[in-house]
Assembly symmetry: C2
Homo-oligomer: 243 residues x 2
DNA sequence: CAGTGGTCTAGACCACGTG
DNA sequence: ACGTGGTCTAGACCACTGC
């Protein structure tokens, strides 16, 4: 069973990088399912023909990227794409008291169309590429407070248009399309609510809103989602941290 | 010279953590100055009475925290607190074309006072603690586009009030007060410009602005700065990333 | 108790930048 | 050629979990 991790002569990649890629592939392909315990470090090392320390380095990187979860004394597990997991990570809106706001969502108008110039640039698509677009309204209790316009490459998310998108997208991405969101980038400005957005959010036109344009990147750093949101934050704030 | 890194019996800290703290202290105390090359991994290992791998782990952590910079084949260096270093890291405003905006600053009204309730909570101060407050206007070319109200604990930054604060603060913190900013947390909302802020920014009252409240944390995770800023972003945006 | 991740060692070799 | 950081190994022991 022991497979030597041989590399081509000119290959300069460190060994742990190869092991890392192999582990990513196993998660991505579904060979290791979410929540499942993966082999221990010595088993991985033996399989890949490297030492435990090298296997450990690969696993550590995956853990740092929130793809694996280590539990001392128990084992290492594939992260479970629960709504909480992704919500907690990427929806960083908090109340004044510091509690995170967990919104509910309502989706509407799911349609396929041709990518605009901006969408092509953001999602790195070729001319005339097809995209799935839909809109959402996020609720805080009974009050709408965020509008979202989401755009996805149709090629990557084939068949998504015929379903009604669920409350949380990223767990669906992982479960049904093997696309795991690793990081997001957001561009934030302040803007006055236009008539349409104001109506949706049930506020006066001209109310200052946060406009947040998000691009989500998959494990392989491909951009796979463009999302433009307008936030009406009453006794709440968006949170950002820089290390 | 070889000092064995002995620990108390009940001490459960890993060895590399002790080495890490020792290295931090050398930088903080000025024993290793900014820009200086530090001993190589084997020398550190010998000094601290650990193996090279353990010393390396401590150095790696410092490097990950942007306190040290490694250069293969050359050595490891204490980070230089140049304006660029801190500006690039913590002032994340960009033009539409993706270029970072590097502002100039004008400071005014540097005064000492007693911390308000909000300031005490943000900076973890005791009742009646003294703080240094001043205001800044950041310019993009000839146009003002950010107002800042900065609040610092007077105890930590003794004597700062008599100087005129420079364009960039954080390099001053490191050079003159041994306070190295490791991370910042920002709370972002949208708001309409009040009359006073509008006058400073030379815009119409009511213009939507980004309000950003920043708390900056030192290496030891003490909060050492509270800053409230209003951003008028024209063809520009604030950028946030979540891993 | 056995099995897991977490730490640590001593030594080896490689890749890179400088002189 | 030399010294540096970067990778890798084989083996050891510790700390934690669950049976």
């Amino acid at each position: 069973m022991a497979r030597k991790a041989t590399q081509g002569k000119g290959n300069k990649k460190p060994l742990y990088a190869s092991v890392y890629e192999e582990l990513v592939e196993r998660v991505r392909s579904g060979q290791w399912m979410p929540g499942q315990r993966i082999p221990n470090e010595f088993q991985i090392a033996a399989e890949q023909g490297v030492s435990q320390g090298t296997a450990r380095k690969a696993v550590s990187r995956l853990a740092a990227e929130n793809l694996l979860v280590r539990v001392q004394g128990l084992g290492t597990f594939v992260v479970e794409p629960t709504p909480e997991h992704f919500q907690f990570r990427f929806f960083s809106v908090f109340q004044a008291n510091g509690k995170r706001i967990i919104p509910r969502s309502r989706s509407t108008k799911c349609k396929v169309g041709t990518a605009s110039r901006i969408e092509r640039m953001a999602l790195d698509l070729r001319r005339n590429a097809r995209v799935v677009r839909f809109q959402r309204l996020r609720m805080r209790g009974r009050r709408p407070f965020v509008t979202e316009s989401i755009c996805l490459p149709a090629e990557t998310f084939e068949g998504l248009v015929v379903r009604s998108p669920p409350d949380t997208l990223y767990d669906l991405f992982q479960r049904d399309y093997g696309v795991l969101i690793k990081r997001i980038e957001e561009r934030i400005t302040a803007t006055a609510a236009d008539a349409k957005t104001a109506a949706k959010l049930k506020i006066a036109p001209g109310t200052p809103l946060l406009r947040i344009q998000r691009i989500a990147f998959a494990l392989d750093d491909r951009p796979v989602e463009l999302r433009v949101s307008f936030y009406h934050l009453h006794r709440a704030h968006f949170r950002a941290a820089t290390e």
